[in-house]
Structure formats: C-alpha cells, structure tokens
C-alpha cells in the first residue's frame, strides 16, 4: 500500500519485432525497451537524451509454416508458454508473490535532485502496435486488443453519442 510521501515510478515498456534481413535467413530481433514516466515527455521523445533503455531481447518464436496441421495447436501453445516464461522472468523484480510484506516492492532511491525517495515501480503502460499486441496476448491476427469490435468493422468507429 502507498503511504504518504511515497513516490510512484510508472514504467513504460515498448516492444516490437524488428525485421533485419530478407535473403540471409530471415533474421529478426525482438527488443523490449523501458523508460519511466517521471521524465517529462519532451525528454522521453528526444532520442538523443538516451532516456529509453533496452532491457531485453526476447527469443524469436518458431514459424508455423513447416509444421504439420496436427501439431499446429501444440506449437502455438509452446510458443505462448515460452513467451510467457521469458516475460515473467524479465519482469520478476516487479512481482512479489514470494514475500508479500509491507516493504516489498519499495526501493530507497537517490533521485537526480540529490534527495532520497521511497519509490515503488509499477508497470503502467506497454506500447506496441496491433500485430505486436496479438503476439504478446496470443490473439488471432488483426483483432482489436481492447474492445470486441469484429474483424471486418475495424476502422468504422461510430461514437455512441451520435
């Protein structure tokens, strides 16, 4: 629980699969970047300030092209389990299921203005594009992550008031 004078550190994660080469073995990278919401957006959006840190390179999932139909579901299940496991290990410092004490999750941090603050990092946002979200959440391709909009009606948004 937050106490008076505790400081929230909202973490912003970004990830996207990056295509590296066409004819040399279809190389891909899958970096995960992190920044904190305490910095103003002007700093965060300026690449030369280096305020975005790369924290992980996820393993590239196996392609489903050469896999026979009967193993496809199993392979998808395995891919999902591997991705979950990797993300769970990367984000392990933010979860405190083993030691749910009052002190867990808080860090005494020396901030840039030379004050110590009791900070709690919280995962607040994960920025990605639509195919990336469907990879992370293990959804069907081209489906909205946030709402129940049917596939063929994406882009035809009607505001409920009108």
């Amino acid at each position: 629980m937050f106490r008076v004078r505790d400081t929230l550190v909202p973490l912003i994660f970004m990830s996207d699969g990056t295509h590296l080469s066409n004819f040399a073995g279809d190389k891909k990278d899958w970096p995960v970047y992190m920044t904190i919401g305490n910095l103003s957006s002007k700093i965060r959006q300026t690449p030369s300030t280096h305020s975005v840190v790369m924290v992980a390179l996820l393993p590239i999932l196996i392609k489903n092209l050469n896999i026979p139909q009967k193993w496809l579901d199993e392979q998808r299940q395995t891919n999902q389990e591997v991705l979950n496991e990797v993300l769970r290990r990367v984000l392990q410092p933010l979860t405190f299921k083993q030691h749910p004490s009052a002190q867990s999750g808080y860090y005494n941090v020396l901030c840039a203005d030379v004050n110590f603050r009791r900070c709690k990092p919280v995962l607040s946002a994960w920025l990605a594009d639509c195919p990336e979200y469907s990879d992370l959440h293990h959804l069907e391709q081209h489906v909205c992550v946030w709402c129940e909009c049917p596939k063929n009606e994406l882009g035809h948004y009607v505001h409920p008031d009108k």
Binding site: R3, S40, V53, L57, E81, V86
Partner: protein
C-alpha cells in the same frame, strides 16, 4: 596519426589498468565497471533449461536481458534529467476561458493521481 590523447590513454593503460579504448568493447567494460548505482545493468544471457520449441528444435531457448531495477535506478538518478523530473501528480489546465484540462503528460492525467494520492488518503 598519433595525438596527445593517445599518449594519455597509453599512460593510463599502464598505470591504472584501464581497458583499451581502441574497440567499443573497452568502453562498454569501463561503463559496466562503474559503481552500482551509476551503471546500467550488464547484459546477461539466460537459458530456459526445461523448455524446448519442439522435437525438431532441441537447442535450448536463450534470451538476453538486463536488470530492470538497475535500469530504473539509473534513469531516476541521472543528473542530466534532473530539471525535468516529476515526482508527484499535478492536474494542469491551459490558458483558455473556460480553462480546459490538459492530459498531455503522464503526471497531468488521472491514473497517477488515483494510484498515488487516493490510496494515501485511504491509508
């Protein structure tokens, strides 16, 4: 062409045992050898021991990562960002009449307020 800087580096190499600056690797080692609260975490190669892709891909699954907490400490404590850091939410309005609420920054929106301040008052 040799410059004065070369000689300085050479002397430092011999006396202080600095890593070599001729390759990018030496700089990385120097950065990684800084004190804990000032350095980003080092890259580590992890292996998922008990998982395999499938029967045809038996090689162990590997991924690279670095310590999230160290990265957070580095970002918060970096002196270059000192002037533009925010540690508390603050609702913000623009100059219009009537004023309109701004949601452009993370600390001017609602989520931070609800997470940090409202829970304070609840105890």
């Amino acid at each position: 062409m040799k410059t004065h800087y070369h000689n300085v580096l050479k002397e430092e190499n011999t006396t202080l045992g600095f890593p070599n600056f001729k390759y990018g690797d030496g700089v990385q080692k120097l950065v990684a050898s800084m004190p804990d609260d000032q350095a980003l975490g080092e890259w580590e190669l992890h292996t998922l021991e008990d998982m395999r892709w499938n029967d045809n891909h038996q090689s162990p699954i590997k991924y690279w990562s670095r310590d999230i907490i160290k990265s957070i400490l580095w970002l918060i404590g970096h002196p270059a960002y000192a002037e533009r850091q925010i540690f508390a939410p603050q609702p913000c309005n623009n100059c219009d009449t009537p004023p309109k609420r701004l949601y452009t920054e993370r600390h001017t929106a609602d989520w931070w307020w609800e997470t940090q301040v409202r829970r304070d008052t609840r105890g």
